[in-house]
Symmetry: C2
Subunit: 543 residues, 2 copies
Amino acid sequence: MAFGFVAQQFVRLGKVLATSDHASVVSINLFVALICGCIVIGHLLEERRWMNESITALVIGVCTGVLILLTSKGKSSHILVFSEDLFFIYLLPPIIFNAGFQVKKKQFFRNFMTIMLFGAVGTLISFFIIFFGAIALLRNMDIGSLGIGDFLAIGAIFSATDSVCTLQVLNQDETPFLYSLVFGEGVVNDATSVVLFNAIQNFNPVHIDAIIILKIVADFSYLFLSSTLLGAFGGLLSAYIIKKLYIGRHSTDREVALMILMAYLSYMLTELLNLSGILTVFFCGIVMSHYTWHNVTECSRVTTKHAFATLSFIAETFLFLYIGMDVLDIEKWKFVSNSPGKSLSVSSILLGLVLVGRAAFVFPLSFLSNLTKNSPHQRIIFKQQVTIWWAGLMRGAVSIALAYNQFTRSGHTELRGNAIMITSTITIVLFSTVVFGLVTKPLVSFLLPHSAKHLSSMSSEPSSPQSLLSSLLEHGQGSVADGGGEILTRPSSLRMLLSKPTYTVHYYWRKFDDAFMRPVFGGRGFVPFSPGSPTEQSLHGRI
Amino acid sequence: MAFGFVAQQFVRLGKVLATSDHASVVSINLFVALICGCIVIGHLLEERRWMNESITALVIGVCTGVLILLTSKGKSSHILVFSEDLFFIYLLPPIIFNAGFQVKKKQFFRNFMTIMLFGAVGTLISFFIIFFGAIALLRNMDIGSLGIGDFLAIGAIFSATDSVCTLQVLNQDETPFLYSLVFGEGVVNDATSVVLFNAIQNFNPVHIDAIIILKIVADFSYLFLSSTLLGAFGGLLSAYIIKKLYIGRHSTDREVALMILMAYLSYMLTELLNLSGILTVFFCGIVMSHYTWHNVTECSRVTTKHAFATLSFIAETFLFLYIGMDVLDIEKWKFVSNSPGKSLSVSSILLGLVLVGRAAFVFPLSFLSNLTKNSPHQRIIFKQQVTIWWAGLMRGAVSIALAYNQFTRSGHTELRGNAIMITSTITIVLFSTVVFGLVTKPLVSFLLPHSAKHLSSMSSEPSSPQSLLSSLLEHGQGSVADGGGEILTRPSSLRMLLSKPTYTVHYYWRKFDDAFMRPVFGGRGFVPFSPGSPTEQSLHGRI
């Protein structure tokens, strides 16, 4: 995210942690009480499959905002203003970390190339379509002075898929393939956004040549690799410390605390270095669930699994509540109140561009991706493509944060054009979250009625020759305990492996993992493990 | 704490939650990395019994402060300034809540009267001794203009026992009796402090009569009762909601989130109402561990137990680290740098008053308390009295927060007298935490070598007639499952019960609990319970 830039402005060694000075006890009370309300109401609405927690929170947030506005007669609407830092420093890390911690790693890495294609190339396509579309359609609409930089920002803002929304509408257990694609795309998207924002800062529209494009590609590669490696390093360091020192011998609390803090530290370090914190903390979560989680005591395993999920759950609920309340901030709507039609048409145009922009890369790139797959089972069928297109349409807190960063100066919207862009962003976020969010679940069950069964069978492919290898890889893990990867039978045909690069990479990674990584960093099979424990049950549910 | 007053000043509906605007990514990185360091070092030092985590954190904090000062050449020392709100809003609630959640309830309520005596009357005695002592000794020392209000504040500041320090030096399992007394005193002390600060605000030294004293007593009773009831209400509400809706059916995360948020809400509500948040959240923890904890799923039980402990652990480590770094803020020391001897002598005088003030109530009140006990096993022996006196001498973050509240205006110490009071407070906190903290553990093992065995036998008293009742009450819980308390054998002699009011209260409470409270709010025996689970093991370690 472009948070790096914002962060730099705020990085000063001044009276730093004393910032809660202005935190109001009243608003903390209000928010905590509302989150409790959301949890209870969310529980009561659980049975209704078209409803989800985020929409409940959003609606409750809007209602509370209305109540506050009415009781205070519009004066204290500033309680509702969205804070980028609150979002990037406190709410986003636990959500993304937990997603990495609980992600089905096999599914994720199997689709890695497709995810990269969608996240990197797809975001770029979407960005350019929205950018040029906005220039063509908005420039003649008399909505104040918007420069080329503003239009570039609009492209970046509305091509940012919201991973948090994806978590809400797609179920990892029901549609593991779609979940890994759309959510993974959202994570990679973050790195693309940072690169885009970097590029926009030094953009010169007159002078575009191959070198600049190469530079952008190089930037992306550097950013992606360094962020990923930092996350992996944080995860491995925690695994190594916990394994070497065997901290659980003395205290479960130390293990849990160390895991939380190391993950958070890797996120904050990455933000400090202007890299992609979301990528880092996501891979840190993956590495931690692969190594660190197996090194800790049983109590810590249960605790981390649920504590991380709870933290993420609270952060998500708070986030949507907060977005809902932010909508009612009066100041933003003052500028557009005399031309509501214009604001509405800008919102509609941008929403249309979002729809087109996403369609423009999901279908072509799916086609490209299908070309590389031999087995028809592995291909992305058209109905899945429609779902991928639809499920990634939601825009959320990331878009709002980016819009605030671009179009406000210290929380105030002074220019008319900027005010319209802010209100349009909020309109689109609200509309897409509620409408697309409500429709996605029914759409998935309409388009892919047997998705759960179909897709899980697809991922293990019982009839293909790969399934032998893959099931060996899967079930051979128990016997890997004695140290090396040699016991894995080498597949008979080398050519087959070459024709399946993903499997080859997976096979050699597994060998390396067993021969070097696990003995050093721990992991399943390399730590005492008592069968029949509740942890084992929960363990089966994962990976 | 006097936080109520401070809170009132900050309670404004302004741009409230956007306060992390100024939070620096750098300092968050620094703090998180340091906490990780503290955890690892604390683990390595675990074997050395004279060391504890808080002192490690304090020392690391001071060292980091020195490093920052040296590298920045004294310019950026303001990163180190202590924030009251950070302390009262974020750090204190998890620490005290966890203490209530993990406290040995039986031990705590058995000593309830003594705890109240120490916490209420004792704090008052200590307050007056320090107040008059400071007037007598400091008034003629030429340390700037200190009014009567300042001296009253000094009395309140230095009579505030720090519960957090107590947690660090006394072990609940080794010395349950002393732990419950000293820690319980610290909790009740908080209510007394609020009353004292209220009284000080409207204090008129010319006009003291019986009515004012009665008013203070009434204030204390009101504050104590309302805070306790609010905490109990929060706990019961969470138990009722979770039991009625059986939230765990759908999601473990909801249960855990609801418990955390309800506890925090009750704390913040109490602070909003200018009551004692520490009392509230402590009793909320007790009620939650008695009812709510038994209503949730097994996973949630393990998670809450360890997650709360981890949160508390992180908050404690952060707190001591923070105090250590705060010490190095140059501005505070500027005023006293030309008269270091004076600051040192003021600190010594105040430290002496703290020692005398605590001695003046521990020994007399122990004597009083012993008068009401018939059995010699129940009495507080002299060696225990010395330990109680010593273990409660530490002054910590609460004292610093109160001193900042009284002697600074928006973070700056302008008057010379005020600057000396701030530096003296810091000196005393540092000295008492490090020196008294280091000495307490060896002192306990020297004075009470068989404390663990001796005291646990003392609390169950195998030879006295009460032991039959108390062991029935203890072990009868398993059979209580079938609904009523009738299966408890009624003790033969009513007179015996009358001579032991604590046991009588406990007996009738148990009856009421079994007949009404547990059926409504759940609790052990009223929810499905699978034996042999790890929860049961951890459950045996508690209560």
